[in-house]
């Protein structure tokens, strides 16, 4: 096996592990094809198991013969390993470097992972497009499920089944696809049950410099409008960026050709800007000098919070158009695989109470991110500690989770899941034993046969014993539309992610425990009262026949 070639020193004794806020551990370090394992080989002491794919970058330092490796992980954790012996240290470091940057997907851990639990409900079969369409069918008959993309030839980044207006045939879809970037023609993203308005998503139209138009595309999106109603096109780019896109064959919908639509431009940044922002933010958060003023200016300079704000504002705008203005909405950016998905998925969280449950949120991620073709593998290849020049890495999904967290924090009782659920998703998007976030699009996942060869994250998460950790004890179903505040004062830094490893969570855990305790105690007492009530009722019925004679 080729892993063995990369591992020069599989085992070193006397390695010391340093982690912030935790006692040091001394033990044996082992390297396997997929893990770094450190164990003190004593009972009931914690072991370190770290996936190679979770490693973002490493640093080596030497002090005499004592080598130190600082491992920076994609989940933003930083750990330090003191390794006695220069050669061992160098070997370990080069092995880690090689193993954590393997390119081949089929060598990834999910293909080797065998679950230690019984899969009761297969996550791969859980959220199929057919099922989502069945729900839609119960509400409206305006839409149909098209198989035009069956072999992924019309649009490689779309799934094989797509929801489109009923009156549009497959030929028109093909023509519309040729007019949109990457073949991503407008498809249904969300149907608002309350007023029948819809949200669609697409990629930018390929108008180019000479103002090309496509009658089929116009017809396709007009088919979603009610008679006499106008719709909104939300372009996630500024007008200037959209203008520039024309030179590269892209562009935006011309007012003249889409008279029933009003276009709104917002300013969600492109991927490389977001990646830089993340790097700056994490740098600021890990700064150990702890000076107040530097902290705030660094936080502002990272621009992370303003990205969060911009995305949330755009999502609120889309939701507002649908719920308040009673208009249909089409969302697109350039490729329609990043900012577009952030907006459409967040708008659904605002509008649809079902998306605020665990199942609903899983379905949303499956539908709006995985099947909609967000290139997870490219975007999550590196995280905030990457040294190299970013290629197509971007924290688009992390930003989305951050926005969800902002809403969750503002509406702490309206979500069935807790912050931990979002953190777990973040971790698994970057490194996981499960196959869910592998690949960049549905076509690739089919080719890799992920559903046969790997385990789905959902198969594991949805087991009751796992699910318990992610439940929000304060949850109370709220059927209303929830409007988050997007004022900068209302948006906070997501400490659960960015300060997770440089603070002690003891007090927070304590408060959380207290909360869980109160809720459990309440349930217990309620049960007790109920049983006593039953007992009393029973006694009364037993008593009464005795008294009457």
């Amino acid at each position: 096996m080729e892993f063995a070639e990369l591992i020069k020193t599989p085992r070193v004794d006397g390695v010391v592990l340093h982690r912030p806020f935790m006692p040091t551990v001394e033990g044996t370090l082992c390297l396997t094809g997929h893990h770094i394992i450190l164990s003190s080989r004593q009972d009931n002491t914690e072991e370190l198991w770290l996936l190679h794919t979770n490693i973002d970058s490493i640093e080596k330092r030497f002090m005499g013969s004592l080598g130190t490796i600082i491992v920076k992980c994609k989940d933003l954790r930083v750990i330090q390993l003191d390794i006695p012996g220069m050669e061992e240290c160098l070997n370990i470091a080069s092995s880690i470097e090689a193993l954590s940057t393997l390119d081949s997907v089929s060598l990834m851990y999910p293909f080797f992972y065998r679950p230690l639990f019984e899969v009761i409900e297969d996550g791969w079969q859980l959220f199929m497009p057919e099922e989502a369409f069945r729900d839609l069918e119960s509400m409206t008959d305006e839409w149909r499920l098209s198989e035009v993309n069956k072999d992924f030839s019309v649009c490689p980044s779309y799934p094989s089944l797509l929801t489109v207006p009923k009156d549009i045939d497959d030929d028109s879809l093909c023509k519309a696809a040729s007019f949109r970037h990457g073949g991503r023609f407008p498809v249904l993203s969300y149907y608002h049950k309350k007023n029948g308005m819809v949200m669609m998503r697409a990629a930018q139209p390929l108008t180019g410099t000479n103002g090309r138009r496509c009658k089929e595309d116009e017809k396709l999106i007009n088919a979603t409008l009610c008679a006499g109603k106008r719709g909104y096109i939300i372009d996630t780019r500024t007008i200037a960026v959209a203008q520039q896109a024309k030179a590269r064959g892209g562009g935006f919908e011309q007012e003249a050709n889409y008279p029933q639509w009003r276009r709104i431009h917002k300013a969600i940044e492109r991927s490389n800007v977001l990646q830089e922002s993340l790097i700056k933010l994490v740098e600021a958060c890990n700064d150990q000098s702890h000076s107040m003023d530097r902290w705030l200016s660094k936080l502002e300079a990272s621009n992370w919070q303003s990205h969060v704000k911009e995305i949330l504002t755009t999502a609120c705008l889309a939701a507002q158009c649908i719920d308040r203005e009673g208009a249909s909405v089409l969302v697109h950016g350039t490729e329609g695989t990043d900012s577009t998905l952030q907006v459409t998925s967040l708008a659904q969280i605002i509008l649809d109470p079902a998306c605020r449950t665990i199942r609903g949120f899983e379905a949303l991620i499956e539908r709006e991110w995985l099947q909609a073709g967000h290139p997870f593998q490219q975007r999550c290849a590196q995280s905030a500690y990457s040294n190299g020049k970013p290629r197509s890495e971007a924290p688009a999904f992390l930003l989305f989770l951050d926005c969800v967290w902002q809403i969750l924090r503002q509406f702490p009782c309206s979500f069935q899941f807790s912050e931990n659920f979002l953190i777990m998703l973040f971790e698994h998007a970057y490194a996981s034993q499960f196959g869910t976030f592998l690949g960049n699009r549905v076509a690739e996942r089919v080719k890799l046969q992920l559903s046969q060869k790997t385990v789905s994250l959902w198969s594991w998460v949805n087991r009751p014993q796992e699910l318990e950790r992610f439940l929000n004890p304060l949850y109370e179903p709220n059927n209303l539309v929830i409007w988050p505040s997007v004022a900068p004062q209302s948006l906070l830094l997501w400490e659960g992610i960015f300060l997770r490893w440089n603070r002690s969570t003891r007090c927070l855990d304590e408060a959380y425990q207290e909360m869980v305790h109160i809720i459990e105690y309440n349930k217990e007492l309620q049960n007790k009262v109920n049983s006593l009530r039953r007992q009393l009722a029973q006694l009364e019925t037993e008593d009464s026949p005795l008294q009457t004679p």
Binding site: Q254, C413, W483, Q489, S490, L525
Partner: protein
Amino acid sequence: MRKCVRLTAASSNEQRGREESCVRTVRTLPDFHLTAREAGYWDRQNVEFGERRSEVFKTVICVLCYTRESCSVDLREIKLEKDLPKKEKHPDLLPGEVVFCSANPILKYTQDDLSQRGVFGTLFCTNFRVTFISDEPKQEETSKTFKNKLYGEKDIPLMCVDHIYGVYDEKRKLITGSFVKNKYPSKMIIHCKDLRVFQFCLTFTKEEDTKKIFQGIAHHCLEEKSLKCVFAFSYAGTPSPEMQRKQETIMFDSPEDWTQEMKRTKAKCRLVTENENFELSQRLPKYFVIPTALEDLFSYQGKGLPIWCWSHHSGCALFKASFPLMTQEDGDFQKHLDTMINAVAHNYLYSVKTEDLSESLPTILDIQQSYNKFKQFFLIDNSTDFWMSDMKWFSSLESSGWLDIIRQCLQKAVEVVECIDKDNTNVLITEEEGTDLCCVISSLAQIMLDPYYRTLVGFQSLVQKEWVAGCHAFLDRCNHLHQKDKECHSPVFLLFLECVWQLVQQHSPAFQFSETYLTVLSDSVHVPIFSTFLFNSAHHRESVMKAESPLAQSGPLSCPTVWDWSVQFDSKAQNFFFNPLYSEKVKHEKTARKTHKPKHQRQLSLPSTAFKTPPKKGFFKDETESLKKMLRVKRISRWIGSPDSPVAATREFYESWQQRPLDYHGLLLPCLDGPAVRVWMQRYLRWIPEVHILGGGSMAVMSKLMELLNQVQDLKRVLEQRDASQAAKFDHRPHLQNRLFSFGTSGRLSSSFPFAYSRNRSFKPIIPTGLMQSLMVTDNLASQEDEAS
């Protein structure tokens, strides 16, 4: 010089003229205060003044004999004319409250709207507040569970007014006094100290009415006035039956209170009663506690006297003192101070660390300037301004430096705590006056060290001990009297509350009180009813009270203390002061602590071996007998000390504390990392509708928890009753006092609850209102682009 003033307050048109002339006359008297002593007087005389609250407006004609020299008021004639047909609505006056002037119609803008919409009504200025009564039928305020009994949402107590702006031709100008040349502004903007913003349009009113109301408000809110004009001296509220409640709070105005406190902390110090009549010093408390080793009390008017604050169970204690800045070589005084330091050292193990706070912390002027900058971000005139300013939110926060000052204070308090708890040395904190930052740091250190001060009553006692009895100059610092030229106002007490809030935020289960309590307390400073925040020192309080009380022989002034919360809130609303997550102390812990106590025995060895070497170099300097040198030399050495080292040192202390098992009834330390120090959202954002989260926010969690706790209590009660009935012991057992209750439907509350109430019940999306505007702009832009292409 006696002057007769005929005062009329009338509503009917024919009496307007008279009223005006009267008010004019009144205004010409520079130090005029229409104290409602008359009102109180009438109450005592059993004149039917209770009908104030009735719909009938009364004309009160009284002749006031006004003597400037004595500032006393005599009532010569009282006549009540009833049953004049009413035309305007009138405020429900408090006992002793009198209307100065009013104007109708005034348009009050609704703050949360870009459009110039508003409500018409009457604006009143009384001796207590500026109030607006809407012409629209009064809405039922059933949902208001958290209602202040003294003033409502549309009332601004005169003391609470921060700035008044006049808008002249779209330009905003700061009004600095009641003197206005000719022109009156079309719009008046009032910024309050509790961060509310009111905007009134004056253009709909007759010119003389505008003049009257504008001058009236400006005069009473901005002009320098004497303490006797403060409403507290006119307020004739009857002590409520719940008055006993405040007794729980230790007031520290008697020797017994101090003895009790010394007993509680097992302090071995000496109670000083020599200052009972302020013969020692007027700047010192009536009673105070000093180290036993100190003998010389009477030199230098008590300057430099180390005043005991708190004793650690090990025996070492915290002291504070006023050390005046020395301009020239003053050997005798140096010697005096050295004796003082020495006396502190004698308290325990001959060790002491002194710290001059005026050197290491910002001055009160810095604090004032920083807060002035900081509060501007929250005083928002309209939503356009709000969305314009939000781009630079973090850097503007940073530039104000307010959060940094909070952090510095917490940092300093942690340093003090470290010396006491870890090194077991006595600490003496000094400052020029000894009543500003000394109060902040000593109170913070005590909250961190002593769980008693984290209970509601304990906290109130602490404020009473360190601030009220401790002679913090509330009157000057809060600028209650609108003195203009003095540079002594500074929100020092607010700074303290801010620091406490940070602690509450970080360690919520350790505190019995909630952040709402702190917010309300910070507001109460500006309610001119309570004696608590009205004076500069104990001596000041006593002399004023003495001078004021013998007016009528009918007893002393009834100035409630702020701790009598029933004056402001009913018992239901007071429930908001309690933290549902507070973990009550488990009983057995007390005994555990006792066994832990005698760890540090007093050493009987010679002083030279008892000297403790400082474990770390920091701001703190060892002052021991052998080091009795010139203070000046040490001062200089302190300046050289690099500012980084104590930060690192306290960080180490914090981290070692973190390693220990969590105990909410033990030592409590704040995290001082940049991200950990935050903006007090509830206090600062509660009036800004743009940041309200309808049906969400931290209040949602609170209310949900309250609801659950309440259910738990109810269920417990049901179980108890059931047990009781099963034991055939059915009796009228008093119900458990239900401290907690539910706020109502949690899904409908706004994040600003319980302060601002959103009037529009519809769930409006909170996205920039300017958005539709920008939408239009980009739309036009887009179409232009279309045409161009």
